[in-house]
């Protein structure tokens, strides 16, 4: 009897395992468990590199060229004589290019103020799970320089080339909360070399907030708002240009393969940081609203190695 027990015991210890498919799967899971801890970046927090007027957390990928055409029509409260603003339009054409997956650059030309702009945008931190340093948020930095080329208002006085320049610096802090919801904050600083009046500031501080709710796989609803903060660096100067309002925009992103169409309503006329953050004159709630759209078409210039 003892022998028998011993035998059964030994057999049960050394009995060849019968590998059914499920056991094979378990074996595979065990083997690949470590691989699962690989860093996994949050992707597609927004559909394109612009939220509405300003930048979103997204970059174009390395080697990708993004051609952007943006329009803002006149104000819808101008009535049927102006076909609710459609008779007027300002436009910005721009080219964005991804130098790497973290760094992109872009240039643009707006009809508004005959303005040229150029920017650089760098991903400092990327939202990720797993790996050695998971992060709940993404952070990017964008710096833009804008050059106004309208004829001098007063050609008789001494005008400096540098008076045409203004700059903006933004941090973008974003989180993709779920497939459907992404939010971002945009602390911003704008500097204009020339102010219109002595009492008007050269330096502006603003906090932007925005987000999107996905309505379907290819359609999302976006909101973007910039609040100019009451911070003045020089005594006696106001913190904002007299008569300006905070920029508000609501719109939809529609994605169709290589294109993204953004349709929106905003009280801002300009499409560069200096113009929409500090020079928005329309009152959104009095109907000073521009209908507008951005069209983005991407071209893969440099194929990445597979």
């Amino acid at each position: 009897m003892k022998k028998l027990i011993l035998f059964i015991l030994l057999v049960s210890i050394t009995l060849p395992k019968v590998y059914a498919q499920d056991d094979l799967m378990k074996m595979l899971d065990n083997e690949t468990r470590n691989d699962k801890k690989k860093r996994d970046y949050a992707t597609a927090t927004f559909k394109t590199s612009r939220l509405i007027n300003g930048h979103s957390i997204e970059n174009v990928a390395a080697g990708v060229l993004d051609f952007k055409i943006s329009h803002r029509f006149g104000m819808v409260n101008k009535g049927s004589y102006e076909l609710f603003g459609l008779d007027q339009a300002t436009m910005r054409m721009g080219l964005d290019y991804g130098l790497s997956n973290r760094l992109m650059i872009g240039v643009g030309r707006s009809t508004f103020q005959k303005q040229y702009d150029a920017f650089g945008k760098f991903k400092i931190l990327r939202q990720a799970t797993g790996g050695r340093s998971p992060s709940p948020i993404s952070i990017s930095a964008v710096s833009t320089v804008m050059l106004k080329t309208l004829k001098w208002e007063d050609p008789k006085r001494k005008n400096y080339y540098t008076s045409r320049l203004s700059y903006s610096h933004q941090l973008i802090i974003a989180r993709k909360f779920s497939e459907g919801l992404s939010l971002q904050l945009m602390p911003s600083f704008v500097h204009a070399n020339l102010a219109r009046e002595v009492t008007e500031p050269n330096d502006f501080f603003a906090l932007g907030a925005g987000g999107r709710i996905k309505l379907s796989k290819r359609l999302s609803f976006n909101v973007e708002y910039y609040h100019v903060l009451p911070i003045s660096l020089v005594e006696g100067e106001s913190y904002r240009i007299t008569g300006t309002k905070n920029s508000l925009a609501v719109g939809f992103d529609i994605e169709t393969g290589g294109h993204v169409f953004q349709l929106h309503f905003t009280n801002s006329t300009g499409m560069t940081e200096k113009t929409f953050i500090t020079e928005t004159t329309g009152d959104f709630f009095k109907g000073d609203i521009h209908f507008g759209f951005n069209i983005s078409r991407v071209f893969t210039i440099k194929k990445k190695k597979k």
Binding site: T14, L15, K17, Y19, L28, A61, G63, T300, K306
Partner: protein
Amino acid sequence: MKKVFFGFLFCMLVSFADAQTIYMTKTGKVSFSSQAKSPEKVEADNNEVSSVFNSQSGEMVFAILVKSFHFASALMEEHFNENYAESNKYPKSTFKGKINNLSAVNFSKDGAYPVNIEGDLTFHGVTKKVISTGSLTIKAGKINAFSKFQLKLKDFKVSIPSLVADKISEEIDIVVECNYELKK
């Protein structure tokens, strides 16, 4: 006591022999392409496929991280993950199958052997029976497995909007290639 000892030895041997039949890879390749007549070809590779193969029973399983499919175009890859494969919702694709004509393969002799494979493929949360042909090539104790087959997107509830219907065909070509080594 002798009997017990031999019994024990026998079992040891069997279990040892059994261990010799498990083959594995973590760098298997799965690629797919769409035959649609579009200038931009939709194709992607995944070189991080893990698979285990039991040469005694003919059973084989695959586990594939959907996010590891890489496209030449970054935007295509984003759309694949976001809109079609929904890889956040369904991160893993698996295949559990079996070689039906295992007796035709002689694992101790080098050579190429045609095989028939049958099993359940799970992708996009849908499990479907797949039957395919392929080959096993035995060389110096290593096994190369190759198979090519077609899947219908419809079967896996992947819907193509009419707007891009001319860019993606309903049938997708799948190519699988694994170089198995004995599992240690």
